[in-house]
Structure formats: structure tokens, C-alpha cells
């Protein structure tokens, strides 16, 4: 048993890296997506709605497979870690699009009207009035997305990224101790999720207007 610990620690580090990169990419896609969903131009709105519908309507695993196995056919050659990160990031970005859009439209309409009346442009209104208020409201629901994302990083195990689930599976195969391996990986996942959850709670508390 002792000999497997270093492998699990290393794998947990890969899971953390995956989570962080996926989260950043997801936030970028989500913010862009939400802006596009709220655009004045109908084609841009439709494009964003299609993005959300397609990526939320199909399994993330298939999306990873399309990019990793299908990518080379259309000239995209990525290693498994990059392919996994990109596919997962774009996938969670679709969920985050809806979260961020929800927070933005929950800001009172009077705020927009007042800012516009005061002579601010649409962009200024969004940047200086709406987004700072919406940002406070989206922290908690984005936390739910991030929690799902951390567990979702397990999906890159089938394309052989050596992260926690892959490592657990490998050692289940070689040691025949499925419960121990499950528990070991499970505890590491929960430590990561717990730490991130604490961070989000802290952020949420700090962001509230007192």
C-alpha cells in the first residue's frame, strides 16, 4: 500500500492542474458566451445559444473523444492533457454561460435604465454598473459549476491522462484492492473539492455588500 501513495499524490497534482486550467478556460468561454447571449445582434445571440445547447446536450466524454481522436483528421494534433483540458473547458463554459447570464439578468433593470439616462454607453453600463453587481451574485452558482468540473476531470482518464481516476483504475488492476484504491482517490478528490469550496465561501463572504 505504501508504495502507491507517491503515485496518488502526483496524480492528485495533475487533477488540480486540470481543474485550474479547465476552470480558467471555462470562465473565459462562459463570460464570452454570456455577453454573446445578451448581444443586440440576433445572429450572435443564436450562435451563443447553439453553443450552449450543443455542448450541454451531448456527453462531455464524447466531446473529449471528438477532439482527441477526431482532431487529427481535421489537422488538430493535441496531446491527451491539452485535448482533455480544452474539451472540458469549452464544455463547462457552456454551463457557466448560463450561470453568468442568469446573474447578469437578475440585476435590476432600473440600474441599466438609470445608467443609460445618466449618459453612459451600453458598454460602460455593463462594465461599471451591471457586472460589478452581477459578479457578487454569480460566485455561489459558479461554485456549483466548479464543483462539477473537478469531478468532471475524471473524464480524461479514458484518454489516458494520468490523473486520479486513471491512477486508481491502474492500481485496482495491479493490486486487486479496489476498495482501498477507491477510498484513497476519493479522499484526495474530497480534499480538493473541500479546499476549493472553502475558497469559494470565503470569496462569497468577502464579496457581499455589508
Amino acid at each position: 500500500m505504501l508504495r502507491v501513495y507517491p503515485f496518488f499524490i502526483e496524480a492528485a497534482y495533475v487533477t488540480v492542474q486540470l481543474s485550474v486550467l479547465t476552470c480558467l478556460l471555462g470562465l473565459a468561454c462562459g463570460t464570452l458566451g454570456a455577453m454573446a447571449r445578451l448581444s443586440r445582434l440576433a445572429p450572435i445571440r443564436w450562435l451563443a445559444a447553439t453553443y450552449v445547447s450543443l455542448f450541454r446536450g451531448t456527453p462531455a466524454l464524447i466531446q473529449i473523444f471528438i477532439l482527441y481522436f477526431g482532431g487529427p483528421q481535421i489537422g488538430i494534433n493535441l496531446d491527451s492533457f491539452s485535448a482533455g483540458t480544452i474539451a472540458l473547458g469549452v464544455n463547462i463554459g457552456a454551463y457557466m454561460t448560463e450561470t453568468i447570464r442568469g446573474a447578469i439578468i437578475s440585476v435590476d433593470k432600473g440600474q441599466t435604465e438609470a445608467s443609460r439616462t445618466l449618459g453612459m454607453s451600453r458598454a460602460q453600463t455593463m462594465r461599471k454598473v451591471i457586472l460589478p453587481q452581477a459578479a457578487r451574485m454569480m460566485i455561489r452558482p459558479l461554485g456549483v459549476n466548479i464543483n462539477a468540473l473537478i469531478k468532471g476531470t475524471a473524464l480524461v482518464a479514458p484518454i489516458s491522462v494520468i490523473e486520479l481516476t486513471y491512477t486508481a483504475q491502474r492500481f485496482i488492476g495491479s493490486t486487486y484492492k479496489p476498495f482501498e484504491m477507491f477510498l484513497l482517490a476519493g479522499i484526495l478528490y474530497m480534499i480538493i473539492i473541500y479546499a476549493v469550496g472553502m475558497g469559494i465561501k470565503w470569496l462569497d463572504r468577502r464579496a457581499q455588500i455589508v
Binding site: 451531448t58 456527453p59 477526431g70 469531478k151 481516476t165 485496482i172 476498495f179 477507491f182 476519493g186
Partner: protein, 218 residues
């Protein structure tokens, strides 16, 4: 190697069979997660602590770890203790239990929000504790959480792709079989994604109808 979608129709039968299995596993796991969710919620709220505590631990573990890891545990772990389940059954159990835990959280909150007067009224009329739960409280609680449980069902459908990893011949694995013969991953994974999308649309339409019917009956 360019793209050539003309090979996809040749494997239409394979994909259709895979779709059938995906629907079957979704229905099986969906039913398990529905009734399991109700059972777990009752245990969590009313169970004796000897049952409740291990159950809390189980729920906590299942909510904090990835589904894929749980599938590996159920499929490879149960063999280790002498229970050799076919991959399909292991997949249904894994998916079903995973989502039962999520449904149970919804139902618990809903049971607690059923008016206390309902419970007291039923008890006053002479119904036993079990009868009150079964006939009065749970039907109302479950009805209130059909919409969020519907979202879990949609998630379940998409996560059913994961059971391909333990060798269930559903849509994802059917696509992989076609790919191993044609070496055209892009085309077949896109085709599989399209199939999932169609099933998803049907499921969403069905859930919307169900919600409307429930709203109308209230």
C-alpha cells in the same frame, strides 16, 4: 485524412442498437435513481441512527467523487468480493445509485417543506407513521421536485456514456466499434453526439409535458 461522412450510414444499424442500449440503461438507472432517491431520503430523515450514519457516509462519498471512479469500484470491486455482475447491471447500479444520492438531497428538502399540518392531519385521522409518509407526505414531496429531478435525468442520460468504459455496448461503445473498423473517429463520434442530442431533445420534451400535467393537476 479528410472527412467522409458517407461511411456513417453503413453503420446505422450498429449505432441504432447502441442507442437502444443507451435508452435502456437510462430508463433502468432512471427508475433506480427515482425510487432509490425516495428510499434514501426516508432513511436520511427517519431512519434509526445505526442505518443513518453509514448512509450519510455513503452519500457523502458518492457526492464528493467522480461517477467514473464509482463505476470502476462497482464493476471491479464487486468481483473482488465474489459478486460477478454483467457490465450492464453494474452500469445501471452505478449510474442509478449515483443519481439516487442527488435525488435524495432534493426529496429530503422537499419532504421537510411539506406542511406540518398535512402530517398532523393524517395522524389524527388514524393513519400510522408509515402510512402517512407513504400516502400523504411523499407523494406531495416528490411531485414538487419533478422539475429538478428532470434535470438529473438529463444529466444521467449524458453520463450514461461513461458506462462504455466498463464495456457496456451502448451508443459510445457502438461508435467505437464502428471506428475500430473504419478508422474514422471524427465522423462516428459526431454521429454519436447527434444521436445523444436527439435522445436528449425527446427526453426534454417528455419532461416538459410531465411538468405541465403536474402543474395542471394541482
Amino acid at each position: 485524412m479528410g472527412l467522409d461522412f458517407t461511411v456513417v450510414p453503413d453503420y446505422f444499424g450498429v449505432l441504432l442498437l447502441g442507442m437502444g442500449w443507451t435508452v435502456a440503461i437510462t430508463i433502468g438507472a432512471g427508475l433506480l435513481s427515482f425510487f432509490g432517491g425516495i428510499m434514501f431520503a426516508v432513511i436520511a430523515l427517519y431512519g434509526h441512527w445505526v442505518i443513518r450514519l453509514p448512509f450519510r457516509l455513503f452519500a457523502w462519498l458518492f457526492m464528493g467523487t467522480p461517477l467514473l471512479l464509482q463505476l470502476f469500484l462497482i464493476y471491479f470491486g464487486l468481483i473482488e468480493i465474489g459478486i460477478d455482475l454483467p457490465a450492464f447491471i453494474a452500469g445501471v447500479i452505478g449510474l442509478g445509485l449515483h443519481f439516487a444520492v442527488y435525488n435524495s438531497e432534493l426529496i429530503q428538502a422537499s419532504i421537510l417543506s411539506v406542511d406540518k399540518g398535512q402530517y398532523e392531519g393524517a395522524r389524527t385521522l388514524g393513519l400510522s407513521r408509515g402510512q402517512t409518509l407513504r400516502r400523504i407526505v411523499i407523494p406531495q414531496a416528490v411531485r414538487a421536485v419533478i422539475p429538478p429531478m428532470g434535470n438529473n435525468m438529463i444529466a444521467l442520460l449524458k453520463d450514461s456514456a461513461l458506462v462504455s468504459v466498463i464495456g457496456v455496448a451502448e451508443l459510445t461503445l457502438a461508435a467505437q466499434q464502428a471506428i475500430s473498423r473504419t478508422y474514422r473517429p471524427f465522423e462516428f463520434y459526431i454521429a454519436a453526439a447527434a444521436c445523444y442530442y436527439v435522445i436528449n431533445l425527446c427526453l426534454e420534451a417528455g419532461l416538459r409535458r410531465l411538468e405541465r400535467r403536474i402543474a395542471a393537476s394541482r
